[in-house]
């Protein structure tokens, strides 16, 4: 609710204009029945051509004015809603961008997409209440006064009757919506199936089974059709009721008024006008019913947005992040100073020491342990890692992120041109092409129609696993971090290319601290120093060649079980 109120407060003048125009428009709706009534009474019945012409002209002018009011109302309300949507999207975007690594663990991507796709809209929809909602209340009052001047008894019937009809029909419509939503959910599931078939076409082409899938889909489609029949049977009754109930009420009002016309209590013109008023009154009553429903849904949606905005980053120890963090961390007085130049990193949990300026290889027998090690070294969790003796978790996080880069093997590729993707850390082409060369990924770029300017979709789904991996590596390299920690950088690449990458990586990172966590002999063979991480501890260190000679566990791990042939 506070969030909704904030959205309103952001645009006070627009909201005020919306409610004024909304009111004028709603009242204007009742002008036409009145004018037609006067045209009938004063012009037609009296056979007064001049009066008739006058009132007819008034009808046309009123029509134009009403259409102007209507469109201005629509425009203002659209702007109000769009402003709210844009504001929500921006707030969410800022929050999502800054919250960091913890997000995927706390919130599912599906939830974010629901919030982005529909909750923002629902929240904005509530603001409609500020215009036509206010207008509806006023219009209702005005019609009440006019009706009262015709006949108090009639006014009472109509003023009570219309809301009652609304209250009867409203829930029916809601029920209609519910039945429909069940159907739509099933329809969505069926759509998902056809999408599933499209996505799996290649599998089906490889193994067969197309007929079976066609039959399966057809039988589900028939089920949906049967469900559709049921929905149709119920809905058509409800629909008929929503038309019949107001119709019957209208008939009753006409009957009452006509009797009064017989006795002379109302004029013929007023009889026609009452008929029109009742029809007009339905509009504001509808708005109010619809509005209350929107308010309920909008509040739920706004709550979800607020909940997402309340997600805070993980505690990674030390002068960690407070959210919202107004004080830049580098300037926090309690942060310890980081080493000025390149320095050794030490992880007490495994006993690994990463020497500054060297290429360290880590062969891990358990991939989970390898990922945990990378998380500690990059401070994605609170740990005892030291950097030149300084506890890493006491250093300002901004500085850690700026100087130490952990490149996960499944790090995310965002949509954008290839240059955008690779230029994340660098913006000159030379740096990018050097990185591409090192990652042996030039052929990926050359194969694309517009080279570096080719747009790539999120996760680079159009590229193969090996191509994606090389792009990730190029991206990490192009940001030229002081310490680069690569996790399985070449697992999806063929041996020829891997050998090339290993050689170039060493040259490109010469003199800079680099950690390669992998089991490939081609990569480890180029490292200055290799450490074997076995059962959570570093059990051996040395050059690749020495470890191959001296450590059977190492030999087994990097030769991947093809060892037997060489005994």
């Amino acid at each position: 609710m506070r969030y909704l109120w904030w959205l309103v407060r952001c645009q006070p003048w627009r909201v005020l204009r919306g409610s004024l125009i909304g009111t004028a428009w709603m009242i204007g709706l009742s002008a036409r029945p009145y004018l037609i009534a006067r045209a009938v009474d004063d012009g037609l019945r009296e056979r007064d051509t001049q009066a008739l012409a006058l009132w007819v002209a008034a009808i046309v002018v009123a029509g134009v004015a009403l259409s102007y009011l209507g469109i201005m109302r629509h425009r203002t309300m659209t702007f109000i809603r769009e402003d709210a949507k844009a504001r929500s999207a921006e707030v969410l975007l800022r929050h999502l961008s800054r919250i960091g690594a913890v997000l995927p663990r706390r919130v599912g991507a599906g939830e974010v997409s629901t919030i982005g796709g529909s909750d923002i809209d629902w929240t904005a929809q509530v603001l409609t209440l500020t215009g036509p909602g206010v207008g509806a209340v006023v219009a209702y009052g005005v019609i009440a006064v006019v009706l009262w001047s015709i006949s108090p008894m009639l006014a009472l019937c109509v003023l009570v009757g219309v809301p009652v009809v609304g209250l009867i029909v409203g829930p029916l419509l809601r029920r209609l919506e519910q039945v429909e939503s069940v159907y739509r959910k099933q329809q969505g599931a069926l759509t998902a199936r056809s999408g599933d078939i499209v996505a799996g076409l290649r599998v089906l082409a490889g193994v067969g089974g197309r007929d079976l899938f066609a039959r399966r889909y057809a039988s589900r489609s028939q089920e949906l059709r049967a469900e559709g029949y049921r929905v149709g049977a119920v809905n058509s009754w409800i629909d008929a009721a929503t038309v019949a109930i107001p119709g019957l009420f209208l008939a009753a009002v006409v009957w009452l008024t006509a009797r009064m016309a017989v006795t002379g209590d109302v004029t013929i013109g007023e009889l026609v006008a009452v008929y029109g008023y009742v029809a007009t009154l339905i509009v504001p009553v509808w708005f109010l019913l619809e509005g209350s429903h929107q308010l309920i849904r909008g509040r739920v949606a706004a709550r979800r947005i607020a909940d997402l905005l309340n997600v805070t980053p993980d505690d990674v120890g030390g002068p960690g992040r407070r959210w919202p963090g107004a004080v830049p961390e580098a300037r926090r007085p309690d942060a310890l100073a980081a080493p000025v130049g390149p320095a050794d990193l030490h992880d007490p949990v495994t006993g690994l020491t990463v020497r500054a300026g060297q290429l360290t290889g880590v062969a891990a027998d358990d991939p989970a342990a390898a990922v945990a090690l990378a998380d500690r070294l990059g401070r994605y969790v609170a740990s005892e890692v030291t950097w030149a003796g300084v506890p890493l978790r006491e250093v300002a996080l901004d500085e850690v992120r700026a100087r130490i880069l952990v490149a996960d093997h499944d790090s995310y590729l965002f949509a954008g041109t290839l240059r955008d993707i690779l230029g994340a850390g660098a913006d000159d082409d030379e740096r990018i092409s050097a990185a591409l060369r090192t990652a042996s990924a030039q052929d990926v770029v050359d194969a694309l129609p517009a080279g570096l300017d080719t747009p790539i979709d999120a996760r680079a789904r159009t590229l193969s696993g090996g191509q994606r991996q090389r792009l990730r590596l190029a991206r990490a390299l192009s940001s030229e971090p002081e310490v680069l920690i690569l996790v399985d950088p070449t697992s999806a690449v063929d041996a020829h290319t891997e050998a090339r990458i290993a050689e170039r990586l060493r040259a490109a990172r010469a003199g800079r601290t680099t950690v390669v966590i992998a089991t490939s002999p081609l990569l480890l063979g180029r490292a200055d120093l290799v450490a074997l991480l076995s059962a959570g501890r570093i059990t051996a260190t040395g050059s690749h060649a020495d470890l191959l000679d001296d450590d059977p566990a190492y030999r087994y791990l990097v030769a991947r079980g093809s060892e037997e042939a060489y005994r």
């Binding site: 599998v203 490889g206 559709g228 149709g232 029809a279 042939a565």
Partner: protein
């Protein structure tokens, strides 16, 4: 990339005519019922007109009571008729939509894989989701609304004509401006709304991907970048919405300003006629009320035309899929022998340069051949030729003496299975995911197949073979999904397996597990493995080195190492120390 075709207007119209004539009776019933409902719906204003006349003539309360009762009766009858009309229409819509989507899916399933790949699966995915549901909504909701509105309008205007032809002519006063502005609007609306929809979808995608890639955003310090990126998206959405708003502003103001014109004209003309006693006062009042009543269906009709237009466009895209010639049925049902022979095979993708330059290769039944080479050498293309997905531009690929592309596709897939990095898990139960490979397999056989490939996770599933996978249900990890795919192979039991870097997309330890599972599947089959790991090559009977679309070296591992070529060099860098011992 060659896009999938889209049907032209004539084809779409013909398809629509066919659909209507197939359901001739249903359409007739629907129209008749709606007309009847609309006619009874016209009675109340007419009866009100009568009341006006009678009261003016000095009729008593009894007359009014009778007429009012008649109004109520008409409302009830009209509601009842429209209920049945709607129900019949709904059923017709459901049937038509079901036919349409089933047809679409069966066409899609019949598409040759090469066509799908060249068009990109994105296009087909959009057609299967967005277009199918757009057409569905159009047929179920939009068409009925338009039909009802059209019937009502026809009758309302017809009724005014009946009251007096001159009144009827006067009633058409607002029409020219409405028709003109609608044409103007429709020419621009669809593309504007599509742009708006695409912009909104992009914004949602930006939010979603930012959330998915949050760790990367933090690691590479992309926050400002993402915010900038998203802000431009927000601006694009805002601009797209403004564009559609501008269209609506023109459209609705002209349309709404046109609504009072018929009423005004009818009153003027009616006043003239009434003054000459050519019509009754009641008739004029009734005509005015009819026209007031026409505003609602008119509004609905205009609001939905744009949607109907979009439905038409979607339908054209669905029909387009049917225009692709389906995969040709083979000319030969079976072949003798399992020997794979490639002779002088050349291949190029759609008029591009040749990717393969004359490949000669023979694979004996039961042999294991590894194909290695740098990326871009044409390894995957060779795999596709061997599996019969593409036919060579020149030369021949045959199995047992019969060209693979001549085999009946279903038969071919049963004999030669292609396993790629893609391991799609279909929505449905574990059984659904296995049974299509071998429709006759028993539950026991399925469990055994899963055991063979080392899918230990299967034992922990809550509902055994009936456990639901995908789409909100249990999600399988990459290795599990690949094992499921391998179990499928065990069941399909092909004599020849082509593995195109089947484990490349997996992380190394998962890949190792999967490779162990794979070993169980390979037993007793001809295997052609495109490999990026040298140990796979080492284990094979023979190794073929592919470079620039040619086989440069072929022979057993030991022969190639002894020959001292490119393969040997690579092998040495892989196993430096081990070899020296």
């Amino acid at each position: 990339m060659s896009r999938l075709p889209v049907a032209d207007r004539r084809t779409v119209r013909r398809a629509l005519r066919d659909m209507i004539s197939r359901h001739r009776r249903a359409v007739g019933v629907v129209l008749a019922l709606h007309s009847a409902a609309a006619v009874t719906g016209l009675a109340p204003p007419w009866l009100l007109g009568t009341i006006v006349d009678r009261v003016t003539a000095g009729a008593g309360v009894a007359t009014v009571d009778r007429l009012a009762l008649a109004i109520a009766g008409c409302v009830l009858v009209s509601a009842l008729l429209s209920r049945y009309a709607q129900y019949a229409g709904h059923r017709f819509g459901e049937r038509a939509v079901a036919e349409l989507r089933e047809e679409f899916v069966s066409r899609t399933l019949g598409l040759p894989v090469s066509v799908v790949e060249r068009a990109g699966s994105g296009d087909l995915a959009t057609r299967s989701s967005v277009d199918v549901s757009t057409v569905g909504t159009t047929v179920r909701d939009v068409v009925p609304t338009i039909v009802i509105a059209t019937v009502q309008l026809t009758l309302l205007f017809g009724a005014v004509f009946l009251l007096h032809p001159l009144l009827g002519l006067a009633a058409l006063a607002g029409l020219p401006s409405i028709v003109a502005v609608t044409r103007w609007y429709l020419r621009r609306a669809s593309s504007a709304y599509l742009t708006e929809g695409a912009a909104a979808a992009e914004l949602t995608e930006t939010l979603t991907t930012t959330a998915e890639g949050a760790r990367t955003v933090e690691a590479l310090r992309l926050a400002e970048d993402r915010i900038k990126h998203g802000t431009t998206r927000v601006t694009t959405v805002w601009r797209a919405r403004r564009a559609t708003l501008a269209l609506r502003t023109v459209f609705f103001s002209v349309v709404e300003a046109s609504y009072p014109l018929p009423v005004a004209m009818v009153l003027l003309v009616g006043g003239y006629l009434f003054s000459r006693d050519m019509v009754s006062l009641g008739a004029v009042v009734a005509a005015a009320l009819y026209l007031q009543q026409a505003i609602d269906p008119m509004d609905r009709l205009l609001q939905w035309t744009e949607q109907a237009q979009r439905g038409f466009a979607s339908y054209a895209r669905l029909l387009g899929v049917g225009m692709v010639p389906p995969e040709p049925p083979g000319t030969t049902a079976s072949s003798r022998g399992e020997r794979l022979v490639v002779r002088g095979a050349r291949f190029s993708y759609s008029d591009g340069p040749d990717v393969l330059h004359g490949i000669d290769l023979e694979v004996q039944p039961g042999e294991r051949l590894a194909v290695v080479g740098p990326s871009g050498a044409g390894k995957s293309t060779l795999a596709r030729l061997l599996a019969g997905i593409d036919a060579p531009r020149h030369g021949v690929v045959s199995i047992g003496g019969c060209p693979v592309t001549d085999l009946d596709p279903a038969e071919r897939r049963r004999r030669i299975a292609l396993v790629t990095q893609e391991h799609h898990v279909f929505i449905g139960s574990v059984r659904d995911n296995l049974s299509f490979a071998a429709p006759d397999a028993s539950d026991e056989q399925m469990r055994a197949a899963l055991l063979t490939v080392g899918a230990e996770w299967f034992a922990e599933l809550p509902d055994d073979l009936d456990t639901q996978l995908g789409d909100g249900a249990r999600q399988l990890g990459a290795a599990e999904a690949q094992q499921l795919a391998l179990a499928r192979l065990v069941l399909a039991d092909p004599h020849t397996l082509i593995l195109d870097e089947a484990t490349a997309a997996l992380d190394p330890s998962t890949a190792r597990r999967t490779e162990r599972a794979l070993a169980a599947v390979l037993v007793g089959r001809t295997v052609i493995a495109i490999a990026h790991r040298l140990n796979t090559a080492h284990d094979a009977d023979r190794v073929a080195v592919l470079a620039d679309g040619r086989i440069t070296e072929i022979g057993s591992h030991d022969e190639l190492v002894a020959a001292g070529g490119a393969y040997a060099a690579l092998w040495h860098s892989w196993h430096t120390r081990v070899d020296e011992r």
